[in-house]
Amino acid sequence: MINFYSYKNKSYLASSLLIILTVIIIFFKGLNLGIDFKGGLNFEVRTILSNEQILNVFQEINSDREIIVKKEIGSDVHTIRIETGDDNASFIEEINQLILDHPEMEILISEYIEPTFSDELIKNSLYAMVSSLLVIAFYIWIRFDWQFAASGIFALLHDVFIAIGFMSIFNIEFNLTMIAALLLIAGYSINDTIVLFDRLRTITSDEDNKDSFSDNVNNSIKLNLRRTILTSFTTILALICLVILAPVNLTEMPIVFIFGVLTGTYSSLFLALGIVGDLNYEAVLKARDS
C-alpha cells in the first residue's frame, strides 16, 4: 500500500510550485474580471454573425470604449462586454437601439453594473468568504484541535487559489457565479478533509493503539481511500454530464469544479494530514497518553 505520509515533503514542494505558478500567472496574465467586479455592460446575443462582424456593427457607435466579443464554444451565442464610461444611461439606450436595428442579432441577456456598485460587490464577497472561513476554522478548532483547523483552512485556500489560477490560464470570466463555484470547491475540499480528520481522531483516541503517528495517518487514509475515490468519481461523473448537457452560459462552472475536485482530493490525501503532523500534533497525543 502507498505510504501517503512519506510523500508529504514532495507534496509540499509540488503545492508550493503550483501556488508560485498561480501567483505568477495571476500577476502577468491577470484575471478576466467580469462586469460584476469591474462595472460595465454585458450582452449575450444569439447571432449567425462572426466576432469580427459583430465588432463592425458596434463600430457604428462612436465610442472609444473597449469592446470584447467572445463566441461561446459549441453554440451561436456571443458574449459582448463593453467597459464603463461617462453617461452610461444613454449609452445603454444607444446599444439597445443598435441591436434592435440588426434583427440578425437576438438579445438573450443584457446587463449593466455601475462601477461603484461593483466595488461594493467585491468588498461584500470578500466579507462573506472571510467570515465563513473563520466559522469553518472555529468549528474545526472546537471539534478537533487548532492543528486541524489550520491545516483544513490551508488545504481549502490551496484548492481555491489554484482554481483561480486555472481560471486565469484558460481565460474563464471571473464573476459572482464563479464565486459560487469557488465556494463549491471550498465546501467540497473541507468536507473531504474533515472525513479524514475524523478518522485520524478515532484511530488515535483508541487507547490500545501503539502505532507511530505516520502509521496512524496512513491507516486513516487507507481506510477511507475507497470512499474518497468513490465520492470523487461520482461527483466528476455528475459534472461531466453537466458539462456536456448544461446551457452554454453554465459550462465553464462545472469545468472549474472538476478541476477543484481533483485538487481537493489531492490536498486531503497528501497535504492535510501531513500538515497536522508537522504542526506537532504528535506532542498533543503524547501529552494526552501520559
Binding site: E44, I92, E106, I107, L108, I109, S110, E111, Y112, I113, E114, T116, F117, L121, N124, Y127, A128, M129, S131, S132, L133, V135, I136, Y139, L176, T177, I179, A180, A181, L183, L184, A186, G187, I190, N191, I194, V195, D198, R199, T202, L223, N224, R226, R227, L230, T231, F233, T234, T235, L237, A238, C241, L242, I244, L245, A246, P247, N249, L250, M253
Partner: protein, 485 residues
Amino acid sequence: MSFFKQWRFWFSLLLLGFCIYFIQPNFNSKNSDFKINFGLDIQGGYSYLLELNENEFKQNLLVKTIQVLESSYNLQSSILEDQIFIPTGQNIDNLSNLTIQSLGLEEVDRSNEGVFLRIIEQNFNQSLSEMTLNAVEIVRSRVDFLGNKELSIQKVGLNKILLEIPGNLDNNIKDVISKTAKLTLHIEKKTLANSKIFINDETGEEVRVQEIPNLTGDYIQDASLQYNQNEPVVAFSFNKEGSDLFAKMTSENVGSRFAIVLDGALITAPVIREAITGGSGQISGNFTNESANNLAIILKSGSLPTEIKIIQEKQVGPTLGREGVQKGIYASLIALITITLFMIAYYKVSGLFTAFTIISCLGLLFAFMTLLNTTLTLPGVIGIVLTIGMCVDANVLVFERIRENFKNKLENPKNDGFNSAYVTILDSNLTTLFAAIFLFAFGFGPIRGFSISLIIGIISSLLVTYVILKFLLNITSEKYLGLNK
C-alpha cells in the same frame, strides 16, 4: 425487529406527507401562499437595483437639524461638510449633552470658536434605512400601474432597492422609477436678490423666480392624464392644506407668472389670471400621452426623498431563461440518474437505498423551499447539485464503514457502522452548513441563492440519512445488504 415498532417508520411517513403537502401546490398553479419562485435568470425578466443618494439624505438631515436648533434653541449654526458648527457668542449652555443626544447628535470638538457636532452614525443608518423603506413604497405605487402581481420590490442593504419584474421589458418603467419627482411652484420675481432662473431645455423658455418654492408637490393628492383641446395635460388636485396655500398664492399674485419646476427643470410658466380656490390645476407643456401619464403617476406617488440612481440593471430574454431551465434540469436529471445507476451497480441492494435516500432528500428540499417561498436561481441549482453530492457521500461513508466492520468481524456491524459514520457525516456537514449560513448573511445575489439551497439541502440530507437510510438498513437482513464481502 418489527416494522411498526420503529419510530423511524412513522417519521418517514410523516416526512412523506410533509413533502406531498408542500410540493403539490407548485403543480396546481392557482393561488397558493406557498410556492417556489423562479429567479429572473431562470424565467426571464428584468431587474433594477436602485440606490438612494446617501450624501443628499445626510445634507437634508443636517439642514433640518439646523432649523430645529434655530427654532427650538435659538442657536445660529452652519453646515461644514458633514458636521454642524455652532459659533460661540450665543447661548450654547442651552445645549446640554442630553439635548444633543436627543437630537441624534454627538459632539466632535469644542473650542473657543464654537462647537462641532455630527450625526450619530447609528441614528443616521436607522433614518437612512427608514427613508429607504419609505422609498420602497413610493416606487411600489409607481410601478403598480403595470398591474403585474409577480413583480417584487425589496429593500437591500441600507439604501438600495431591488426591483424585479418577470416578463417582457417595459421601457416606461425606467422613466417612472428614476425620477425624483420633486415638484415645486415658484412665483416670478423681477429683482435679483434670492432669485433663480429655471430653464425649459426643450422650448428654451426662461423664467426668473424666487428661489424658495411657494408650494411643493408634497401637498398633491391626486393627479391624472387629461386632455385639453386634444392636447394631453396633467391634471392635479391639492389636499386641504395645499388648496389653501395655492389659493393664497394665486390671489396675492394675479397677473404675474409662476413657474412649475420638476426636479430642477422648468416645465411651464403660466400667468395667473385669477385666484384659484378649488385646489386643482393643470400642467400643460409639450407632453405626449406617455410622458403626461408618467408624470401623473409619479406626482400621485409623491416625491422620492433623494435622487435615485440605477446601479445595476439586468434583462434576461425569456427564450434564454426557458432553454436554460430545460437544459439545466435535463442535465441535472441525467447526472442524478447516472450517479444512482453507478451506486446500484456498485453496492447492489444498498445502492437502491441510496436511490431512495436521494429522492427523499430532493423531495424534502423542494418541500422546504416551497414552505419558505424561496426564489430558485441558477446558482441555487448549483447548490442543490452540491447537496446531492453530499448526500451520496453520506451513503458511501455509511456503507464503507459497515463493510469495514464486517471485515473486522465486529459484533453489530450494521448499527455501529452507521453510528460511527454518522459522526463523521455530522462533522463535515455541519462545517459546511455553518459556512453557508454566514455566506447567506453577508453575501449578495448569486452567493445568497447558492447558500440558501445549500443550507436547506444539508438539513434535508442529514435528516433523510438519519431517518430513511437508517430505517432501510434496519429492516434489511445483513446478508442481503451486499456489504459483507
